[in-house]
């Protein structure tokens, strides 16, 4: 009976369903953009430096220095790899180096890694290799420079650069490297002050042990497990290192994402409110219009409670159909957004340009991908809002006084 009641006023029901569907679509799309967007930003940041969870010396975060090392990095890396929620683990050395050529010298930051163990999935910079080649091995005597850095030093591929570093004992050491490659990321700060070196060669130069490094970077296929993985590792490394989740290692990025997540949430709540207002209207009106009907029903023996349940069932049906229609309508834009994405290139200033946020270069194409739980939340919210909207009218329907209402025309 509740079902039939719904369809008695087809137009009104359709309108309400339309607004529910629309609200749902908006919510899903926004959340989808967000979920995907943030996951990507986090992934990008992880791939640039540090991974999702970073294991490093306890003092490294506050006072970066080549003296603050992790002694048994290899063993730690193995332990981390065994974790089921972890996909990749790499070992690195990061620090500052002075680069000198016959005519110029400049300080730069360096990242030393094992070219055999890493690829663009762990180190996004590798994709930015513009000229030349990657190191042949971890012992290679090459160096890869950011494009602007290379310009400043006046070197090209194959030319030599003398590296000067302060080793673990605080002594100054030098070694020679030849430019094997040039990277171009488009982000000005990176291209002008970053260089890449092979891990074992740097270990030798700095006098590190064969298992020593400054950072173990851990990558997760699902960034939402970061906290649990970090906690597990923290107990393993306690005393000699810390396991930092990305949101502690990169607090600024975390803040940015938090802000965006909150504002999206805020918008969704608003949309839900507006939708709920419409639903409330619909149900209330239908109840009011049927006062006479309800009066008659009560007169013939329907209890207020039954009327209440009747109206609530109508709400529920409304909710179910609404969700169904909503899902159907959402699927088209979602599919498009998921596979092709929204191209914001024009907004960012043309092809090839990237926005740089907290040191991370971002792609200008927005893809949509919603985490299943969030989709469920939205569904529940829609159904919940509908049911809630139905409460008051349902209650009112039970308060109808039969005699009065039957008198109504």
């Amino acid at each position: 009976m509740a079902w039939r009641n719904l369809w008695r006023h087809r137009r009104r029901t359709v309108l309400t369903l339309a607004s529910m569907a629309f609200g749902m679509t908006l919510a899903v799309l926004f959340t989808g953009i967000g979920d995907e967007g943030y996951a990507r930003m986090i992934e990008l940041a992880a791939k640039m430096d540090g991974g999702h969870v970073t294991v490093q010396h306890p003092e490294m975060l506050d006072t970066p220095s080549l003296k603050h090392t992790v002694m048994d990095a290899t063993a730690l890396a193995d332990t981390a790899r065994a974790d089921p929620q972890v996909s990749r683990v790499v070992t690195r050395i990061n620090g500052q180096v002075l680069l000198a050529t016959a005519r110029q010298s400049k300080g730069a930051a360096f990242i030393a890694f094992d070219p055999k163990a890493e690829d663009p999935a762990t180190f996004s910079l590798l994709e930015a290799l513009h000229e030349g080649e990657m190191f042949a091995s971890s012992n290679d005597k090459g160096i890869i420079l950011g494009e602007r850095l290379a310009d400043h030093l006046g070197v090209k591929l194959g030319k030599k650069v003398v590296l000067t570093l302060t080793d673990k004992q605080g002594e100054i050491v030098s070694s020679l490297a030849r430019v094997t490659g040039i990277i171009r990321t488009g982000a000005p700060t990176i291209d002008a002050s970053l260089c890449l070196l092979p891990l074992d060669r740097v270990r030798q130069t700095l006098g590190y042990g064969p298992d020593e490094a400054t950072q173990v970077a851990i990558f997760l296929p699902d960034h939402r497990n970061t906290a649990t993985v970090a906690d597990r590792l923290a107990t393993t490394v306690a005393g000699r290192a810390v396991a930092l989740p990305w949101y502690e290692a990169k607090a600024e990025l975390a803040g940015f994402i938090a802000m965006k997540v909150n504002s999206t949430l805020f918008m969704e709540v608003l949309i839900m409110l507006l939708v709920a207002a419409g639903i409330f209207n619909q149900i209330f009106v239908s109840v009011m219009e049927r006062s006479r009907e309800f009066g008659i029903m009560m007169a013939i023996g329907f209890s207020p409670g039954r009327l209440f349940r009747l109206v609530m069932w109508e709400s529920l049906w409304l909710a179910i159909v609404g969700v169904g229609v909503g899902a159907a309508i959402t699927s088209v834009p979602y599919y498009l957004g998921h596979t092709r994405g929204i191209d914001m290139t024009a907004m960012v200033g043309g092809a090839g340009k990237k926005a740089e946020v907290a040191g991370v270069a971002l792609e200008p194409i927005w893809r949509i991908a919603i985490y299943p739980e969030n989709a469920v939340y939205i569904l529940v919210a829609v159904v919940g809002a509908t049911l809630l909207s139905g409460l008051y009218p349902a209650w009112r329907s039970g308060r109808v006084v039969p005699v009065d209402s039957i008198k109504l025309v």
């Binding site: 500052q96 000198a100 016959a102 300080g107 030599k160 003398v162 590296l163 002594e171």
Partner: protein
């Protein structure tokens, strides 16, 4: 520009610290000039002429750049390869400022404020005492005989003087920025006359000219050195740094304890 000038005066440091800081050394007789060992011998002599046991010297350094000219008077002590202390005597504004090298650490004491800074790797490119030296020059011991392949490329007369030219190319792993060095040695006494530094592309970057060779104690040392940056076609510019030794003493008594931070301040 000051920058290129600074960068071009690498070996001046070595000269500064060691010419005149070299002791009396008895040299074995040189091998025959036509033998392959000759070059290595001469370069070793050059290297060792710049190293020594103990020394004490006073020198004047004149620096001319595009924007200013400066004269400094300095006093220097050295003990072996690991210890040296250089102190500014003039101008008065900087009197007392000193640089201490102890093993692989480098410190600069600034008289004006009484503070001492430890020179870290990032500062290696920076200028030493306002000169064209870099701090890096002070620390680095690039040993010619060890870090370069040596070939005799000329044997004859230039400007009426019999000379040898040695062309030095860095060994593959030597941490030196140069592509090539050409050193001109006087044939008669195997004293250095000129050293030209080339970058990897073969362009001359700077030259070091030695003169005023004198016998001090039992060795011959050039008392004057001038380092000049060269432009890309090899012509000297207007900038230079000239070091002239005013006094040298190899018989001075020195102990390691002399080379300490406290000494820096109390001198």
């Amino acid at each position: 520009m000051i920058r290129t000038t600074r960068r071009t005066i690498l070996a001046l440091l070595a000269a500064l610290l060691t010419v005149g800081l070299s002791p009396a050394l008895a040299w074995a007789a040189p091998p025959d000039p036509s033998s392959p060992a000759f070059g290595a011998y001469v370069m070793s002599k050059l290297d060792d002429q710049y190293r020594g046991e103990k020394s004490h010297a006073k020198m004047a350094m004149e620096i001319k750049t595009e924007h200013w000219t400066r004269k400094l008077t300095m006093e220097a002590w050295s003990l072996g390869q690991d210890y040296s202390l250089v102190r500014i005597l003039k101008p008065r504004k900087e009197k007392g400022t000193a640089t201490l090298k102890a093993k692989k650490d480098l410190f600069t004491y600034l008289n004006k404020t009484g503070r001492t800074i430890k020179i870290s790797s990032g500062m290696m490119g920076g200028s030493w005492m306002g000169s064209h030296f870099t701090n890096d020059d002070l620390i680095r011991h690039s040993r010619l005989a060890r870090d370069y392949h040596i070939k005799t490329t000329f044997n004859g007369t230039k400007g009426g003087v019999g000379v040898y030219d040695f062309t030095l190319t860095p060994k593959p792993d030597a941490p030196v920025v140069w592509g090539k060095l050409v050193i001109t040695i006087r044939a008669a006494d195997l004293e250095p006359l000129r050293q030209v530094f080339y970058d990897e592309d073969g362009a001359p970057v700077r030259e070091l000219v030695f003169s005023d060779h004198k016998k001090i104690d039992d060795r011959v040392v050039p008392l004057k050195m001038v380092m000049r940056p060269l432009d890309s076609s090899g012509h000297p510019g207007t900038e230079y740094t000239r070091i002239t030794y005013q006094s040298l003493d190899f018989g001075v008594k020195l102990k390691k304890s002399f080379f300490s931070l406290q000494k820096l301040k109390s001198l």
